[in-house]
């Protein structure tokens, strides 16, 4: 079973995403802030990490930077409300594997996870 860590400060968003991922047969580990998320990532080494960008205190860019600098080798999917190309480019430069916009549907998430896992192999 694919383990997916989701980092988002919105409980509403975490709920929706959890429902979608469980429908895809994934095991979901939620985190409501970036620091907690990175700690879990370092400890539990999930297969995929899905993170929001805009969060209080530490944001999604910080998550990307931590995953990279700690060499955790976890594919990161960005899920954000910010649809600007400049934001997308910055995320990819920082090592994101995929960039999705909210609200996301099941197909988009499924494709992104499949591609991320394929890339990992």
């Amino acid at each position: 079973m694919v383990t997916v860590l989701i980092i988002d400060d919105s409980s509403f968003q975490r709920k929706i995403l959890t429902v979608l991922l469980k429908e895809l047969g994934c095991e979901v580990i939620p985190a409501d802030n970036a620091e907690e998320g990175v700690t879990i990532a370092a400890g539990k080494k999930p297969d995929i990490l899905i993170t929001d960008l805009l969060m209080p205190e530490k944001d999604g860019f910080w998550v990307l930077e931590q995953i990279g600098s700690r060499k955790l080798q976890i594919p990161v999917i960005i899920l954000t409300s910010d649809i600007q190309t400049t934001t997308k480019e910055r995320c990819f430069r920082m090592g994101a594997g995929a960039f999705l916009n909210k609200p996301v549907n099941k197909e988009e998430i499924h494709t992104a996870i499949r591609n991320a896992l394929a890339g990992r192999k």
Partner: protein, 204 residues
């Protein structure tokens, strides 16, 4: 009648506004080439009659520029995007790349501001309607200047008892921060239906 809403529902509304504002920023970015840095909107719920006493100094007594849109459906009311008139001109000029010593909201810039407000409102309402799976109908958007209470109390008989969802956002464009408010003024009874719709979407 719900007197308060729980933290989770407020969080959901904030997320819906967030999605809408993000989409709006993306469209403005595509249109103008200016990168817009977003901040997490602060959302609160107040009675319309209490709005002047709310934390929003923006609404209390300043001259404002606003784009307003009426909506009808499972929940009904008015959505408004509000800027202080003084910074509305600066916002437009930042987006159009104009450089003028004393920014002024002339007829052309008013039209541009209407479009910016239209983009924001449409994105926020689109986010709410799509995520909650609701079908809403809308009036043609209007532009108004003046004090907030005068603009929004027009011809609404039960205005005092209406609930207002107030989302404070900041648009950071090229080191300049322009504060704007997005408000959903909900007709009597609509807040309950909105909350119900959010609960359904959360558990769907």
């Amino acid at each position: 009648m719900t007197k308060e809403i729980d933290v989770e529902t407020l969080d959901a509304i904030r997320e819906l506004v967030n999605i809408g504002v993000g989409k709006a920023a993306g469209q403005l970015n595509q249109m103008t080439g200016s990168h817009i840095r977003l901040q997490i909107p602060l959302v609160s719920l107040v009675r319309f009659s209490e709005i002047a006493k709310s934390e929003s100094q923006l609404l209390s007594d300043k001259e404002l520029s606003a784009v307003l849109l009426e909506f009808r459906g499972t929940f009904s009311g008015i959505t408004a995007v509000v800027f202080p008139s003084a910074s509305a001109a600066s916002l437009v000029m930042l987006l159009t790349g104009e450089k003028e010593k004393s920014p002024e909201l002339d007829a052309m810039r008013v039209e541009a501001l209407k479009e910016v407000g239209n983009i924001i409102i449409n994105s926020v309402m689109g986010s709410i309607a799509n995520v909650l799976g609701e079908r809403l109908t809308y009036s043609v958007p209007v532009y108004n200047e003046g004090r907030f209470l005068t603009m929004t109390k027009l011809q609404r008989q039960d205005a005092e008892n209406e609930w207002v969802l107030l989302a404070r956002t900041n648009f950071l464009i090229e080191l300049l921060s322009i504060e704007g408010d997005i408000l959903l003024i909900l007709e009597v009874g609509s807040l309950d239906r909105l909350v119900e719709s959010i609960r359904r979407a959360s558990h769907a």
